[in-house]
Symmetry: C2
Subunit: 239 residues, 2 copies
DNA sequence: TCAAAAGTGTTCTATATACACCCATGA
DNA sequence: TCATGGGTGTATATAGAACACTTTTGA
């Protein structure tokens, strides 16, 4: 750690990029902004921005999230640091090191379009065409990470409103993983894990217009899932 | 993304910090360097350094690893990005954003002490007292991450030399997790996972001076472990 | 011939899976 | 009364844990 100040004013910009995910109408959606300037003008990109001098990356990410979504209170939302992307050529203009985050939202309010972005909206994950910069990679990493964490953490409730049915919780798993799950077995697994969910006494909600009203649950205090809820064998997932 | 150049010359330094782990005499060890200057002069710290203008964080980490360990070829070693630490006050001198990595080494050559560091050596993980900066936290995060990845990836072979016995592989798990495992069951699990290890035909090695010589194995091609090799229930591990 | 370490086999139990079935509600 | 979604029960297969046992080597 000699020569500490030698590179102190090298032109490194530090930014955050956010993969904001939600579930709308049974499909995974991403919050994207349309770029107004070169490079990649007119292309979709992940929302993000500079880390300010007195901010941590997490603080900057939460600020950007609030700006882009227009939500009053983003303090309770799940923000997960993915990794940092630092390849020298990832931004053609200058050296930009970007700390990427995944954010999980329960309901999907229409984005303000406020903040920096020219235009912001929710797009289905599958049709989120080629994005600007290396954002395709970041988005794929976010999806993979979230999918993996559903297996061994209680993260799924972050996609749900404060009160939800077990059917809605199951839909989170099915949507993120892209596989169907056996409802009775899913139910047993979830209820057998202490602290995953806790029932709201007496409450019930009609989900599809028809059918028996479903009991409502809240997120419990647990964070880890023991034993894990493994996705149906995909044979050799990436690490 | 307006005002792109506004903060371009804000004094952000980007560094890498490495938690270099190995197993020596059945105990987890960390590579540490002694700081020669303030702040934290005389204290142990994780090796690390600045990301150069034309490097990615991964490249910088590998360069630092080679400098600190004095190894010729660090290209095959496992380097894993942990996360980025960016709290404004983490270095009292200036704004330093650090990308942390965990590196896993098979055998433990005595470090050169070359490169920047005044002195470098291996210390047992448990007696790696209070480190400089937020390096205690980084080291703990590295341990947790490696422990978790042993469960569902073939990462354990990264701690082993090119040819190893199943007993040595088991010792990796036991050392990192701090728990004893049933040898017959461990053996079956490992051999039942295709591509985890492959036997070196005819080769055998005497391990403890006495006893039956153990068959030798090489790391296989697989990266993921299906089904996972879960550590004995610790009830509610962190996410 | 004993201790130590490798390797094999067997039993018991917990968990996962795949269903069949019943319940409550709106159309 | 039928379709729809919620909730319960149960048989079977698979995987994990515990432990007894055999094999091969050096002292």
């Amino acid at each position: 750690m000699q020569g500490y100040d030698k590179y102190a004013f090298e032109p490194f910009a530090v930014t955050v990029d956010l993969a904001v995910l939600t579930i709308r109408a049974g499909a995974l959606h991403v919050l994207l902004v349309e770029r107004g300037q070169e490079p990649y003008a007119g292309r979709w990109a992940l929302p993000g921005g500079f880390v300010l001098p007195d901010e941590s990356a997490e603080t900057a990410a939460r600020r950007e999230l609030a700006e882009e979504t227009g939500l009053d209170d983003v303090s309770g939302l799940h923000l997960e640091q993915l990794r940092t992307y630092s390849e020298p050529g990832r931004d053609p203009r200058m050296r930009v090191v970007s700390v990427a985050f995944a954010a999980l939202l329960p309901d999907a309010p229409e984005p303000h379009g406020g903040g920096d972005a020219a235009q912001a909206c929710w797009l289905p994950y599958d049709s989120a065409g080629p994005l600007a910069f290396d954002h395709d990679r970041i988005l794929a990493d976010a999806h993979e990470r979230v999918g993996a964490k559903l297996e061994y953490t209680c993260l799924a409730t972050a996609f749900c409103p404060p009160e939800f049915t077990l059917g809605e919780l199951q839909q989170v798993y099915e949507t993120v993983w892209g596989t169907a799950l056996d409802r009775p077995n899913f139910r047993r697994k979830v209820l057998a894990t202490p602290g995953f969910v806790e029932q709201v006494p007496g409450a019930a909600r009609l989900t599809g217009g028809r059918g028996k009203p479903a009991a409502l649950y809240r997120a419990g205090g647990a964070t880890a899932l023991h034993p894990p809820l493994l996705r149906p064998t995909t044979e050799g997932r990436p690490s």
